[in-house]
Assembly symmetry: C2
Homo-oligomer: 420 residues x 2
């Protein structure tokens, strides 16, 4: 086996555990020195390859690399950048191959979601079309939990845990003051196309009386009257109503609640904010005192409350990706497979990238209760193990210690720059 | 010493650690059985006394009471209810005395902030004016950190830790994607009148390059141009700009940024949201892609990331309150006193309630940097010890286990109801 260098890049929205996958990739590559030479990481994702900005991970100590396992965000930088098809932008692919050739790169690890799986697949095909030997392995990551063939996606479990913990805490807060104060609390969570994250918040309720009492999913068309009736019923029955709203909550015609036409003082359309939109709705129709929260990036960056299962799995897919590469695989993705027993178990298996790219996994309708406002036992059984376990980062002076990389760039070898 | 019962009530906005104070009160009272008989808690605060809804804490097991130490919110219920002066509403005070007499209550523990200290003082004076022997002790609690005579207020340290951890995490998230995505992130935090909480977020930055790059305090008049210039400078210098805005951020004329006149689709004024207001401002003036978060109740309920110091101090003031009562004190508050040494130490001392009530402690101007956008070393020295230490709650199935009380009400003895 000829020794080749590896290229690793982070893609799309970052998570609390994507660096744990990076850690898995780099630590495992370091154990396969006969097959893998250097591990280069793209500075700001695939753009780093196009610009020939390669971070030499060899310049980072073993301790720093190990600390990636407990550091949120994308330590090497990430980007939202989708490669067009080979026909549409051949120059981009040729540039990639030029960079890979110049740096003797034979392994391509792409850590991302659906779009990245597609890019990774395209690159895996370059071996044939551009006659350059390259093994491309996709490392799954997305808080959206929408990749097919894998039981779940690294990154999701930690957001799930964050939202469930947060709404459990906030619900208790509201419950204790609802007699004379706030009666309706709304927490907005991520998930523009699917309600996986919103569903996870449902884990916080051990009984019907617990918050969240209402969950709004993008999958269920928002019905103003039905919603308001339910809010009123909860307030009458429990004294308060805790609501979790997906940012993707929408009307029957597909209009997002968040785009419901709010204007600022200057008359400009104000973007975003399902939570304030719902709050206004409740206030106007029912007159209840409300509060609302928008977790936004806090939820996907919350490494301090990461799911232990998620951290382990994120590391495992990184590790498995390298092992698959060393075993000669191409165009595959390490997928998480759930064991069949009652006790939760999981293992990593190989999934063909051709079946992953451009396939979006939707949340099954039977995960949402018949009334559309909650989750079913089936959903609980699926979701609960994913938030299991606490994996606390180290602290210093009361704050989590997150690592910083030196990010030493490899000297450029190409004479041409590339504008992305 | 004649054995008397005790009454304990939670008041105002709840916190992650107010139940730790309740735990301190009840556990300590149980150790003083010769002086203190039963401990009754007001159902929903002082309203519970007026309505003669007294929770018998003796019906809760030692294990449940111990679990209060790691349970956020107000386990007995809290309320926003300020007693008027004796002259203005004598009936209310007479009702209180009736209830206290009927249940042989000789100790009054009131767990709250500034308004509650005032109420507690008034009640302490009832001994004379209404000729009923009663010792009233105020147990400090407020995330606003604005009580005088105490170095800090239980509840604040945990919010401080939450906001510092959250902005550290979110800043890393934004930093890793700013090359092609979000450039400005705004996190809104509580603090309508003082910037203590916003200031605490500043602890997240170890250097000038770290987020938060800009903090907006209620104490510093908002200057649109200066703010926008600073945002632009940060984006140019660091690639992104992380902002923490106090909900109380305001213009020179005292108008809150959050009340800047946003209208919803129906033309109604939309309340709240410094963060979205600033985001729109940035977008319109500079065109940067933004994201924003509003932590709202999540921050004050976040027991999962409570400050160890805060939990200890919250317990200690509850414990000390009972000890002061047993020692015959009246109209006092256990205050936290900081040691003079370089290493952080603290102890509890007695503060006269007359000097606490109706005095608001402001944040010193020298805690805010000269440019008005950050905190000084002096502020760091004050704030850092308050977020020190992690005190994690127990977990089950991936979620924190927070205790629920049985809340067994004491049989009513009075024949009359009282409407509040």
């Amino acid at each position: 086996m000829t020794k080749k260098n590896a290229f690793y890049a982070q893609s799309g929205g970052v998570t609390a555990v994507i660096n744990a996958s990076a850690c898995g990739v780099i630590e495992t590559a370091r154990q396969h020195k006969t097959a893998i030479g250097k591990v280069y990481a793209g500075n700001n994702g695939i753009i780093g390859a196009l610009r020939e900005e390669l971070i030499d991970t060899g310049k980072e100590s073993a301790k720093t690399i190990a600390a990636l396992k407990h550091t949120p965000s994308g330590a090497f930088g990430s980007c939202r950048y989708k490669l067009k098809s080979l026909e549409q932008n051949r120059a981009e692919y040729e540039r990639l191959i030029d960079v890979f050739k110049a740096h003797n790169i034979g392994y391509f690890f792409y850590n991302g979601g659906g779009d990245s799986a597609d890019t990774c697949l395209k690159i895996s095909q370059l071996s044939q079309t551009l006659d350059y030997p390259l093994q491309a392995i996709h490392v799954p990551k997305t808080i959206d939990n929408d990749l097919p063939l894998t039981d779940n996606c690294p990154g999701f479990g930690s957001v799930a845990k964050y939202v469930a913990v947060s709404i459990r805490e906030a619900s208790l807060d509201v419950a204790s003051m609802c007699d004379t104060s706030t009666k309706v609390f709304i927490m907005e969570v991520m998930g523009r196309h699917a309600g996986w994250i919103a569903a996870a918040a449902g884990l916080a309720a051990d009984s019907e009386a617990d918050g969240p009492h209402i969950i709004l999913f993008p999958e269920i068309a928002f019905d103003r009257d039905k919603f308001l009736k339910r809010v009123q019923r909860c307030v009458k029955k429990y004294g308060y109503c805790a609501i979790v709203a997906s940012e993707g909550a929408q009307y029957k015609d597909g209009t997002f609640l968040a785009d419901a036409g709010s204007k600022d003082a200057f008359g400009h359309t104000q973007l975003g904010g399902v939570a304030p939109t719902l709050a206004t709705l409740v206030k106007d129709a029912l007159g209840y005192k409300y509060h609302w929260a928008v977790a936004d990036y806090l939820q996907r960056a919350a490494r301090h409350i990461a799911s232990g299962t998620d951290v382990e799995q994120a590391y495992a897919v990184g590790k498995a990706a390298v092992e698959m590469a060393v075993a000669g695989k191409n165009a595959v993705m390490p997928a998480i497979v759930r064991g069949k027993g009652k006790r939760y178990t999981w293992r990593i298996e190989e999934a063909p990238l051709a079946k992953v790219a451009n396939v979006e996994r939707k949340m099954p309708r039977n995960y949402i209760s018949a009334d559309g406002f909650g989750i079913t036992d089936k959903a609980r059984q699926y979701l609960q193990p994913l938030i299991q376990g606490e994996d606390y980062p180290p602290y210093r002076h009361g704050l989590p210690v997150y690592t910083r990389l030196k990010k030493v760039l490899v000297p450029q070898k190409l004479k041409t720059a590339f504008r992305v």
